[in-house]
Symmetry: C2
Subunit: 412 residues, 2 copies
């Protein structure tokens, strides 16, 4: 059994629809390489009894508990009180954090109010963990052979205190933990259950191997996990996945499609321009989410209105009239147009019916045409995506980038 | 005490960093208008004992428990087994779902395998809840005066089964619940703790009112909640918020900034074009996330490379050389250029240093210039955003849209 950690996320906003709780995802991913497992996450409202109850039960099950949120300056922030009450300790002011807080307020030209000063209150006996990106510090509290970490709730601050203080401490404390080895294969173009069925027919999972599938935004991540002494099992299983899924594998690591495409362009010193209709800038947004993308991304034209397709991309008016905006021909003209006008090596285009309105029998909601133009010519591809507007836009963005990837690699 | 509901989310991928669990957010939001509260969410791995344990404890605390995930076709899907074991029931095949499953596979041109057929297994005695957008149906199980819902894990399917079957049932069952009234005010341009401090100085929260602040992507949502018999308390408090925050309030409802801007443009029959550098298409992506945006959004130019700013937006080369790409002058030229070239009423531009590299003493990471051009002239605005690349891009997108909003309203 691997060493287990629990997370108690506090905050009424997590349960009332106001916010999505991302801490479990961040923490789970960070613990894995340390040989630790996030075994449970519990979200409770800003209520002293609910928080104290959840923390007490977590401490009964495991030795390390992280508590997030409720360290702010407002009256609904009661995590300190809940933990202090549970452990029978007092709440004290951390003078060392006060000067740092004053300094931070000064940089952004704000005045430090008495209310804001509440943020530097801590549970007595705790080790204070300075917050590199926010106001309220984290805390480490040891009690009865167990360790309790309290972290600020805002994701940036949670992540910063986690990586600066919590993970290094855990790594040191659990040096002897049996670590696990992972192999990740990223797949585009095969659905999760089809993929699972294909691999089960090949005898998956083999003994000693844990296989997990995770679908998100049109791609599926296949994750093979085994204890570090079973590298051979991972290698053999990876070979099976490669044989079965072939060209659908776009990365053998936890990379996004935009990172993969960015690396390919960088290696070849090639440049890219985009022409988007239904995704409205989403492809450009994803490409530029990668730091350093200015080395290969020139920019693009968002041709949402047909007049922009004509004036800024040179799509022939007759073609739009004859074939419609969502067509093989218009996708090709858009890719060629943006490549030529922006002076890029590759032009990538997308045009589709994102819905919920605008679909016809011939061109239903979800129908998307994509094209890549380069010096050698133009390739096009179409697909009908299931789902709602957001889903169609997100998954078609992925498929368009995958078409570009395969074109760069010369397989289409 | 309001009637409470708990959620048990199953899936190792929720705890191993593979995926962000959004079910609590969706469910919490949906329960509120019914007078119900999501009082706790627990995430557990795909493990029969862990699932059974979490469901058993939830059933001890509340009368209604939702369980999500683990209904798929793969070997790690064990939620049915866990619930069946907990309740001492068998697992049976739901023949009615089988024909629907065959039909769905046919539409998308896929073959139904014996493995995929596992998806229609249900706990004996359950009421089967057909899944309108996926394969595995949901289930409603009554046992010992308690109600247990099992829903598929993929967000689209969870949401569909929730709204089609679970919410209508709850509404009927809890018709007598004392409902709550809410007032939501969306704020841009004031930080969460400053905002809270300002309102606390005005005596917030008044008796009988629950005030929650939720910051996300640069905006803060102020939510005032009271039982339905206290409408006057909500109205008075709303007036205080309006007086204190004034022009920083961009909506008095749960609207996104892009929805607010879209409505303003639609009302005025005005059109918009965008010119983006640091956000790389993110503004266009957000504008077009609103269905119907084609009525006012022409499109845009993603001018990531300076050559594109010159060739596609007409930014003078001398201006780029003298002022740099991140400057008031270039932002203004970009807005004017895109307005003129795309023939729109408003041109909105953004140019900034998203980081992590590229910052200087004079133009640090986080510095962003924005501009709006219209028939009356051009307004510019700049701000230094704290945080990492993603955060700078996301919050600057919001502020740019807010500048446009204020320009349309004539307040800048």
């Amino acid at each position: 059994m691997k060493t287990q950690v629990e997370l108690v996320a506090t905050g009424s906003e997590l349960l009332s629809g106001r916010i999505v709780n991302r801490h479990a995802q961040v923490l789970g991913e960070a613990l894995l390489p340390l040989g630790l497992t996030l075994s449970r996450e519990t979200s409770v409202p800003d209520d002293i009894q609910a928080i104290a109850d959840a923390v007490r039960m977590a401490l009964q099950r495991v030795d390390v508990v992280l508590v997030s949120g409720g360290l702010g300056a407002t009256t609904d922030d009661v995590t300190r009180e809940a933990v202090a009450e549970l452990l029978g300790r007092r709440i004290v002011k951390d003078e060392a954090s006060l000067s740092g807080l004053r300094e931070k307020y000064k940089i952004f030209g704000r005045e430090l109010s008495p209310i804001s000063e509440r943020q530097i209150l801590v549970v007595e006996g705790s080790v204070v963990l300075p917050n590199p990106v926010g106001m309220a510090p984290g805390q480490r509290i040891e009690s009865g052979g167990k360790v309790l970490f309290i972290l600020p709730g805002p994701p940036r601050e949670f992540n910063a205190v986690l990586s600066t203080h919590v993970l290094p401490w855990l790594q040191e404390a659990f040096r002897g933990a049996l670590s696990v080895t992972q192999k990740i294969l990223m797949v585009c173009g095969v659905g999760e259950s089809d993929l699972a069925a294909q691999l089960e027919m090949e005898g998956f999972p083999p003994p000693g191997l844990d296989v997990a599938y995770c679908a998100s935004g049109g791609r599926v991540e296949v994750r093979l996990t085994a204890t570090s002494d079973r590298q051979a099992v991972i290698d053999q299983a990876s070979e099976v996945v490669r044989r079965v899924l072939g060209r659908h594998i776009f990365a053998e690591d936890r990379l996004t499609m935009e990172e993969v495409v960015g690396r390919l362009l960088l290696e070849r010193r090639s440049t890219l321009a985009t022409a988007e209709s239904c995704t409205g800038g989403g492809i450009g947004q994803r490409i530029t989410s990668v730091s350093g993308s200015s080395a290969y991304y020139m920019g693009g034209i968002i041709a949402y209105d047909n007049r922009v397709k004509i004036s800024q991309l040179g799509v022939p008016e007759t073609e739009l009239a004859a074939q419609g905006a969502v067509s093989k021909e218009v996708a090709a003209s858009m890719a060629q147009g943006v490549r030529q006008r922006l002076g890029a090596d590759y032009g990538l285009s997308i045009t589709g019916v994102a819905g919920p309105t605008g679909g016809t029998d011939e061109k239903p909601v979800g129908l998307v045409w994509m094209a890549v133009a380069d010096a050698a010519g133009t390739v096009t591809s179409s697909r009908r995506f299931p789902g709602d507007r957001d889903w169609i836009r997100e998954s078609s963005t992925l498929f368009a980038l995958d078409l570009l990837r395969r074109r760069i690699l010369g397989t289409v």
